[in-house]
């Protein structure tokens, strides 16, 4: 973590406000954005990179491969919408990776990348998915742990 991020004030995400309009939002675990990242484990414990890799592949879970090329040669189809994630573990610190997955719109409101841990501020969510996040806190951590393994020397 970069020291300048730590000097930033702790910002509690507007979850309390969101909870007023959508009671289910209150079910989300609380997290803190510091600078460009979320420094603490969302699930209170580190993730498992093997499970994270599976989540990234699964179409009904992360489906990161829809938009990203990733160093997963056993998968036939890789997207070209976002950047290649090879080496991303060297490019980005863990806390920024976590914010990226939780809600990249906090850093870049115009991004096409979905927020994987968010339920508020969405329009016409399908019935089966209302009030639900795409990933659980543990799955977010698993993906973060996996991305951390994608360093330049792998």
């Amino acid at each position: 973590m970069r020291s300048k991020a730590i000097t930033c004030a702790l910002v509690v995400l507007g979850l309390a406000g969101a909870a007023a309009s959508d009671a289910r939002a209150g079910d989300l675990v609380e997290f803190f954005v510091v600078g460009n990242g979320i420094p603490e484990y969302l699930s209170g414990q580190p993730g498992d990179p093997e499970r994270g890799r599976a989540v990234a592949i699964q179409r009904k879970k992360g489906n990161c491969l829809a938009c990203h090329k990733m160093p997963i040669p056993d998968q036939q189809y890789h997207g070209e919408v976002g950047p290649d994630l090879a080496g991303v573990g060297s490019r980005m610190p863990e806390s920024e990776l976590r914010l990226r997955i939780v809600n990249p719109k906090i850093a870049n409101p115009a991004t096409m990348m979905p927020a994987f841990y968010r339920v508020d501020g969405l329009h016409r969510v399908g019935k089966a998915f209302q009030g639900k996040t795409i990933l659980t806190p543990q799955e977010v951590e698993d993906v973060v742990a996996y991305l951390k393994t994608l360093t330049d020397d792998t």
Binding site: Y77, E80, K105, P114, L122, H123, R124, V125, G126, F129
Partner: protein, 277 residues
């Protein structure tokens, strides 16, 4: 890029060239050599690209051969129904409209403003208006074989003619609501149509090569559906893929969206019934 022909090179929009970055120097994509197929030049008009340009060589072959195109099973049904008496008034379509060729040029202006309802009408709405009000027959369901067959048959009469919908006068507010729909993020994945179909044509999204999401080939036979399907069915599919609540086929929302999508397609040849993966 240099193999794509002058029409493609004529595209000044830097955004498009950037978006088409997935097309390699030699014109190949994950679908193979699709950009070097000389046939695509008939499906590019100015800065408009038909979905044909992003389709696989196999589906192009099927689309271009009426004997291979599975949609023609439905077209034959439409042709039969054209001459068939139905309803309390004992009329067939042909009884009033004569030979189907009389409908040449009709479908390319749809959706069209309809005075009687004060809203936009898609071709399906007009067919059902004729059935219920002029034949005394039951309306066909939007996605029924009969409706798909009839709309494919009617549109076939205009094959190759440029799409030419009007967004002027009374159509304007409906156009605007369709446009708003197109740019509205929706669903759990929080995506708008333009993010895929304006910002990333030519890029793979997992196993699919993104196109501009044009409407000039509908109804379209999709290998995935094993069936002919309406444009509204495609809209519902694109909504569900991003985990958004779809609208009903034939709803005002999808009809206005159709107007916007067809306006984007203006100038492209009518290709219905097209074939896609």
């Amino acid at each position: 890029m240099r193999h794509l022909g002058t029409a493609f090179l004529g595209l000044a929009a830097a955004g498009l060239l950037a978006a088409a970055g997935a097309v390699a120097q030699d014109g190949s994509t994950a679908y193979g050599d699709i950009m070097n197929d000389p046939r695509i030049k008939d499906h590019i008009v100015g800065d408009k690209h038909s979905g044909f340009v992003y389709a696989t060589l196999a589906t192009r072959d099927m689309q271009e051969d009426d004997f291979e195109n599975p949609a023609f099973t439905w077209v034959s049904l439409g042709e039969e129904l054209w001459d068939k008496q139905d309803g309390a008034m004992g009329k067939s379509c042909a009884a009033c409209h004569g030979a189907p060729e009389s409908l040449r040029g009709v479908s390319v202006v749809y959706p069209k403003y309809r005075e009687s309802t004060g809203g936009m009408a898609a071709l399906e709405h007009i067919v059902n208006e004729c059935r219920t009000e002029r034949m005394g027959a039951d309306p066909w369901k939007w996605e029924s074989d009969q409706m798909l067959g009839m709309t494919a048959f009617v549109k076939l009469q205009s094959r190759g003619m440029p799409i030419d919908v009007s967004i002027d006068g009374p159509a304007r507010p409906f156009f605007e609501s369709g446009r708003d729909f197109f740019f509205q993020r929706r669903g759990q994945l929080d995506l708008a149509c333009n993010m895929c179909h304006e910002d990333h044509p030519g890029d793979m999204i997992r196993a699919d090569l993104l196109s501009y999401g044009m409407g000039n080939g509908f109804p379209t036979y999709r290998l995935k559906w094993q069936k002919l399907g309406s444009l509204h069915r495609r809209f519902a599919g694109c909504n569900k893929n991003i985990r958004a609540q779809p609208y009903a086929r034939g709803s005002d929302e999808y009809t206005n969206l159709e107007l916007f999508v067809m306006w984007r397609s203006n100038g492209l040849p009518s290709e219905a019934p097209a074939v896609r993966r």
